[in-house]
Symmetry: C2
Subunit: 344 residues, 2 copies
């Protein structure tokens, strides 16, 4: 793969970037980081949306990141590899109500992951095997090998996240969010080191509640983010200044708004920055929402405005700007206690 | 479905036919029986070739019979539904050596069977559910819900049947055949009744060692065949008077010859008749092998010669002739001990 030179100000030696990832938004963002020269990329990925379907272990966010880095992610549909037929999925209808669509090639991945895990491999080991099978240079780590499952309460009913988001199409109101199993989950091998030792940690433009919130709920992760000596920046998942152009994004924005509302937060970039304020040094705001800059800077967080919805051809440039901005924040992060007295 | 009138001499009231089935040969034969008017069809199917692949429970013979009765069996390929793409199968290659091909629509069936069995259903219950999903009027019964597994010894090595037949393409010499688990297997619910109460039992033109031999190895089956008062006929799986025209059949004939040789039998129709002589009243010999008629009649078994390789359009006629012939044998079966003094 040809690599794009990061912007001026970025080190000329190899440097390590760790990205905290959900699915769709992260999948779009990490391809840009991967395209940068001299960048060693580690993705720490949410697994709290994982579930069992047809006896198969499905890890939607791990798969989106894997397929994206492999260059085959179906961004229009929002899941699975491109041009994946649905012959098996359609045949399943004969045998009952199948609400979750899986493409034919995608089934291969779920079958192997499930088989390898039944044979005793951890999710992290299986993910490593899949990464090698696709010949990727990046490292992809599940946030935890232990089961953490996001559930949302709608009135009296608790719904598993996929039930809420896919089966019920994000329709039910959300009154509360919890991360079942998080209290007893351990970060997967390598996660804490990847956060602690990275030259830069980037929080991808992913759902701050169901994706990033779940990663932060794993004991040890938030502390590692607070205590690391290098900088951490977040890219906004919320772009208020544009109407979502395509259905997958519209659905995601609606779900994100509902989950943020359940946390008492408006669906705005500055609310996301506030949520992360305890551990970020910089925030990448979409240029369409530049009016929110002052709000975010008042949290003691540096702000970069950029076109965060850059099309695929411009993503390496976006990533280069984010990295340059992030490493620039580093110079200030040497005394975090002074800068963020409320942190810790 | 339009039903074909059976030949003259066949009862004008409904009558029950039970067919002992392997895969490919049975799949071709049972569609003809299903097409007969007033025929209640029960298939008792070999499950000793079943195996686990990718964590899925595969039942090759049950599936061939199911797909055949549903009118979608891929006879040219010899397995699975017609026009089934291999997108998942091809994608699996990236993750390792996948020696067993499964079509995309076929995966749906394996996924559901595996899921339902993990949820606690027996193989017989799952098979019934699949039969209902396909809207079939026939009954399909696995020979047993208990695991019976055919293994073949090649020199010092015991091979599972699918390893021998698919992975190793029937190449290794076969010195011995055994049915692991058969001694402790119970016939599935309905199997003994289907054999005992049928107006006619037909042994399909299936492998007499790996398919029919496995069914006969289930305790109680051979006794039920010997003690039933109605007639039993077998259709030859061996046609010596023709070179196998197509690869699937050539491979099957080679495997059949190897397994029969391991039992000390020549690959001839009269050897099959001899193998079944303890419980059959009639034998359907291919017209190309009419020279073997006397040999078989000398076993005290009636013989019908017919074109057992009839193309799909002529299979109902073949089935009608077999049924007419079989019910004709019934008149003689009232005193089996006198007719077959060596039986029992």
């Amino acid at each position: 793969m040809d690599h794009v030179e990061p912007s001026p100000g970025v080190p000329t030696t190899e440097f390590a970037v760790t990205v905290l990832c959900g699915g769709f938004g992260a999948a779009r963002f990490v391809t840009g980081i991967q395209a940068l020269a001299r960048t060693s990329l580690t993705c720490v990925v949410n697994t709290a949306d994982d579930f069992e379907h047809l006896g198969l272990r499905i890890s939607p966010d791990l798969d989106s990141v894997l397929y994206a880095l492999a260059g085959v992610f179906d961004e229009d549909r929002g899941w699975g590899p491109v041009d994946d037929a649905l012959a098996c999925n359609d045949a399943l209808r004969r045998y009952g109500d199948e609400w979750f669509s899986i493409g034919d090639r995608d089934f291969a991945l779920h079958l192997k992951r499930t088989q390898w895990m039944r044979e005793g491999s951890t999710l992290a080991q299986v993910t490593g095997r899949l990464v090698r099978a696709w010949g990727l240079s990046a490292t992809i780590l599940p946030m935890s090998d232990d089961p953490v499952r996001t559930a949302v309460r709608s009135g009296m009913e608790w719904l598993a996240f996929q039930d809420y988001m896919v089966r019920r199409r994000g329709g039910p109101t959300v009154d509360e969010v919890r991360y079942d199993g998080a209290a007893n989950a351990r970060p997967a091998l390598g996660v804490i080191t990847a956060i602690t030792t990275a030259d830069l940690v980037v929080v991808a433009p992913s759902n701050p509640v169901s994706s990033i919130g779940a990663i932060l709920a794993v004991p040890g992760v938030r502390q590692a983010l607070r205590e690391r000596t290098g900088p951490t920046v977040a890219v906004t998942p919320v772009v208020s200044g544009i109407a979502p152009a395509r259905l997958p994004e519209a659905g995601r924005a609606r779900v994100r708004a509902a989950l943020m509302a359940a946390m008492g937060l408006p669906h705005r970039a500055d609310a996301v920055a506030r949520l992360y304020a305890g551990f970020i040094d910089g925030f990448v705001l979409d240029e369409r929402d530049a009016a929110e800059r002052g709000e975010i800077e008042s949290l003691g967080v540096d702000v970069l405005t950029a076109d965060t919805l850059a099309p695929p051809t411009d993503r390496a440039a976006l990533a280069g700007r984010v990295v340059q901005f992030g490493l620039g924040c580093a110079r200030r992060a040497v005394a975090p206690v002074i800068r963020r007295p409320s942190a810790g």
